[in-house]
Homo-oligomer: 155 residues x 2
């Protein structure tokens, strides 16, 4: 459903920019943005999105996005410009970047989608990534595309 997608985006936006400590509060913030749903649905949404409830530095509980959903525009632009090719072979993915950019892109991959690509090694302009057992190449591609805009639509 279309609404669910938008709602996920809204949840992501809200908890990455606000301090939310319980689902009731989040429900309220969603309502302000025009999303009407119950706590039951929200609980399910958060589970699907793998949002964690964690004690904060401040001592209170807050909801946190998993690394895979974290995002930052500037970074995306940077990453987008550094990637040149992507290929799959068996449970490996091979990425090529502009010279010198491999390790920083590898770093981002390690940070963002550790449950999809379980490890990487980076040279100067090449990254070899090992794909988690059982995942399809498409799933990996999509996970990468989630934070590398130039990949969107491609493949």
């Amino acid at each position: 459903m279309k609404n669910k997608i938008k709602r996920f985006a809204a949840i992501k936006e809200i908890i990455s920019t606000n301090t939310v400590s319980c689902q009731e509060d989040l429900l309220q913030l969603l309502a302000e943005r025009g999303f009407q749903l119950t706590q039951a649905t929200l609980s399910r949404d958060l589970k699907q999105m793998k949002v964690a409830k964690t004690p904060d530095v401040s001592g209170e509980y807050i909801y946190k996005l998993p690394n895979e959903l974290k995002n930052s525009e500037e970074h995306n632009i940077y990453l987008a410009s550094s990637l040149t090719t992507i290929d799959f072979s068996g449970n490996n993915v091979v990425l090529h970047t502009r010279s010198g950019y491999a390790s920083s892109l590898a770093y981002e991959i390690d940070e963002r989608i550790p449950s999809v690509i379980i490890g990487t090694v980076a040279g100067e302009d090449t990254i070899i990534g090992v794909i988690k057992e059982g995942l399809s190449q498409k799933e990996v591609f999509d996970a990468l595309a989630s934070f590398i805009p130039t990949l969107k639509g491609r493949q």
Copy 2:
């Protein structure tokens, strides 16, 4: 109290090696190891330790340690051997390492204690870290010592 310290260690050990999905289960595992406590106390322990409850890849809920409490023996040995000096100045900490090791140690610091050292820059053998406002040098030292064995006892 002595028991609490040991209990924290036990909790850390249990949830880093087991899949625990609720406090009752964890209580049970603690009981097996000789720790007798109630759910109320456990809830407080987890809050203090900043243990997050997060949806797992598998779809179930699991408790996860914050990065600052994660650990790995091999890594520790590696880190221990790479660090040579540590000094403080105002809200900065300066670490020296064997040549070439600065960025990997800086990476670990960024990963493990982001709420203590809010940022680092690393050269070839030097790391400059910026300490979070309000923290004492001792607190920072202890946070570093928590994953760099050679620091334990020192200072």
